[in-house]
């Protein structure tokens, strides 16, 4: 149908790009065809983002040529790439939260009448585009701020379609979608492909690539390793190409327990506004307990309530059997509680991006590294070095801004920050979102090691595989309540999916029976 010999729509030849001393891309040749979904795979820092930025005119290559539809082109800025029909949907959402959905969709070229924005036409257009992505339920006059993350991502896709792309680039564009939306997006992308568009698709989720891509290219360390048709390589081979080392079992083995460990964290009847009600659970020492369910069923709120961020939380929290009131993160961090939260969005909630790796790692534990009122710099450096080595955080210089690190390493910095406080209860809010497989694997191992040393872990993930692979028990939330607890061999994808939809487990088993 689309052989590799056909003249490509876009091709890059000999593209190189350096940022200071870091080589982001080295002599890369790359081509993508019309009517094809082309997946680009690679760990964070492999050069995928730089590739996308060059294609979309955000940065200019140091060397090499770009050919579009048979003509040599240069894109001095994103507008030039846009004009040539290259449209990007980036990992970081580019919507303006206080503008309406319709305003956002029409932001680049709003329909005009007498030189003024024609709001009615703009609204109609937004409605059409939203209908095209199967989101008729989104009111175009609503502010983007009021939409949950997964809906915003759909708006982002609608906005991109509104610019009539010839080449659509999706950079981790599905990482925040719910399972139901993912299917819709797949259908849309397949439709676009059949209409002759080129699609470049970047994702860390292997099964998405399986379901979606026609062609795959693997990048590693700024180099193009291989391009092949879907199905030509096994999953193991692909992963090995990406990480350049032997691929072992992703998830560390779970310990076998005969009895429940002593509870470190107990919740009784936790409620908050109309988002959480009657939540009771325990997390034992050394246990990894997963929170599952559809996105937005109160999992995030539960973690924030525990960490003292939300006001007006009812119910009882017991730490090691003693009742505690936690009304701020400072109290949650305090020795008597010893809690840590790895937040959802590392860029805005986890890190001070312009500050150094060192300052970010030590900020939470700084109070415990003082001599009188002075920070004990020697002790600070020693502990930072120790934890950075333990987590294998890769950085040029400890004084570099944490913004210069790859996503996976940034997340490791967030985790390192909390490990330094000596937390005994660790709450994680979807910690592997947008992180490469290699780092994910390291994080899974780290969580298990922490648990083995007696830490209690409460782990929310939107990725069912993770819940199945990592957790000793999984609690499924639905509409702010725990609807099911799964343990041991019962933690299966079928059971999680059924429970997430608040079906009985028999319903899930029925088709297999």
């Amino acid at each position: 149908m689309h052989s590799l010999t056909q003249a490509p729509f876009l091709s890059l030849a000999g593209i190189s790009k350096r940022y200071g001393g870091v080589r982001a891309l080295a002599n890369v040749d790359f081509a993508c065809q019309r009517g094809s979904i082309h997946a680009v795979l690679g760990e964070n820092g492999a050069g995928k983002s730089t590739l996308i930025k060059i294609i979309s005119g955000v940065v200019q290559p140091d060397e090499g040529t770009i050919t579009l539809d048979g003509h040599a082109v240069t894109f001095p800025n994103p507008q030039a790439a846009n004009a040539a029909g290259i449209v990007c949907i980036f990992q970081e959402l580019s919507l303006m939260p206080d503008l309406s959905v319709a305003d956002n969709i029409g932001i680049t070229s709003p329909p005009r009448r007498f030189g003024l924005i024609d709001r009615r036409a703009q609204r109609r257009r937004a409605e059409e585009l939203l209908a095209r992505v199967g989101c008729e339920d989104i009111n175009p006059l609503m502010r983007v701020r009021q939409l949950p993350l997964s809906r915003r991502q759909m708006v982002e896709i609608a906005k991109a379609l509104g610019r009539n792309p010839k080449l659509l680039v999706l950079d981790e564009a599905t990482s925040a979608l719910t399972a139901a939306d993912v299917d819709k997006v797949y259908a849309i992308l397949h439709g676009l492909r059949d209409a002759g568009l080129s699609l470049l698709y970047i994702s860390h989720r292997m099964h998405e690539i399986d379901a979606l891509a026609d062609t795959c290219s693997v990048f590693r360390n700024g180099q193009h390793i291989d391009t092949f048709a879907k199905g030509a390589r096994t999953e193991e081979q692909i992963v090995q190409m990406m990480i350049g080392r032997e691929w072992r079992n992703v998830y560390p083995p779970k310990p076998v327990r005969n009895e429940r460990p002593a509870p470190a964290l107990e919740l009784r009847d936790i409620g908050w506004e109309d988002r959480l009600s009657g939540i009771s659970l325990t997390v034992g020492r050394g246990e990894i307990v997963g929170l599952g369910g559809l996105d937005g069923q109160g999992q995030r709120e539960l973690l924030l309530a525990l960490f003292g961020v939300l006001r007006g939380v009812s119910g009882e929290i017991r730490i090691n059997g003693e009742r505690r009131r936690i009304s701020s993160p400072a109290e949650a961090k305090h020795e008597a509680v010893g809690m840590a939260l790895i937040p959802e969005d590392r860029k805005t909630e986890g890190l001070m991006l312009p500050m150094s790796v060192r300052d970010n790692i030590s900020i939470a534990a700084l109070g415990s590294m003082t001599h009188g009122i002075v920070v004990d710099r020697a002790r600070e450096s020693a502990r930072i070095e120790e934890i950075a080595a333990k987590l294998k955080i890769k950085f040029g210089n400890i004084g570099d801004a944490v913004a210069t690190l790859s996503g996976g390493n940034q997340q490791k910095v967030v985790i390192a920050k909390w490990l330094l406080t000596g937390a005994r209860i660790v709450l994680l809010n979807d910690p592997t979102r947008g992180i490469d497989v290699g780092t994910k694997q390291e994080i899974y191992q780290l969580l298990r090691d922490l648990a083995d040393s007696g830490t209690a872990i409460l782990f929310y993930s939107t990725d069912y595989d993770e819940l199945i692979g990592c957790c000793d028990r999984v609690l499924i939330l639905y509409d702010g309540r725990i609807v099911r607890e799964l343990e041991g061999a019962d933690i299966t994808e079928a059971n999680i999916v059924a429970s997430s939809l608040n079906l009985s487990l028999d319903a899930a088993k029925a088709p297999h029976a």
Partner: protein, 313 residues
Amino acid sequence: MLKSIDRPTLIASSFIVIILLAGTVYTVITQGNATFIEPAYLLQQLKIAAFLGIVAAGMMMVILLGHIDLSVAWTIAASAMLATAVGGAWAIPVGLGVGLAVGLVNGIGVAFLRVPAMIFTLGVNAVLRGLMVMLTGGFAPQADATKFMIWLATGRPLGIANSVLVWAVISAALVFMLTRTPFGRYIYAVGNREAATYLSGINTRLVLIGSFVICSMCAALAGLLIAGYSSKAFQAMGDAYLLPAIAAVVVGGTNILGGQGRYSGTIVGTILIVLLQSVLSVAQMPEAGRQVIYGLVIIVMLLVYGRGSVVRA
């Protein structure tokens, strides 16, 4: 070692040299002397700079947080007026007490009530002005500064004016705080990303309140010194310090959006502003022209900095 001096400090320092050289060329041609590079002149300028320097030092703490304090103008005046009105041994504690009170109000307004600092401190400034007019009936206060206040501002037992020494002590204390204590680190952290700092289990409200208190107390102290220098408090005595203080901090390389900046920059920025004002007035530039040049210099310097490091946020 070059890395330990940051770019804005270097640029501002070079600019100071340029101002002095240009001024000297002018005076040599028109008056046949080189006033601007005589030690006596420079020491005199340092003495004047101390007042602005102390206000700017406090202002920097608040700007590092990404906030601003527009109430320093009447904090200066209120501190000076109440201190001279009370007089005696209580003059200094009363003046500093005014600073503490204003700082607490500002800090609580920003940290708890979450009113944007620009609006809240502007309101506080207006309230202070109203209170002072009520107190004095709008006339110049009659009470004189105490002997100690005068000595603190103009005495020179160590060969250098005490006001300069006070500025040096405050500067040393703030540098120590910013670079060596957790509180200093938290100020930068809040300025970079308050949410991340809060979620790191840090009491960000305390950081906000503490910084506003430092700012207002610096302004109050400056008020006491200025009253000592002119041996009286007077209406609107702080108005001439608000914008120059902000300019000194920003010209010194502190990011107006918070999170970045070195204290050394604020010192250099203060000296730059004071010399610029002085050279322009000695050159008998008409007031209107002075304002134009003064404003242009600040804008140009900020443009120069903006070319440098762009940090993704």
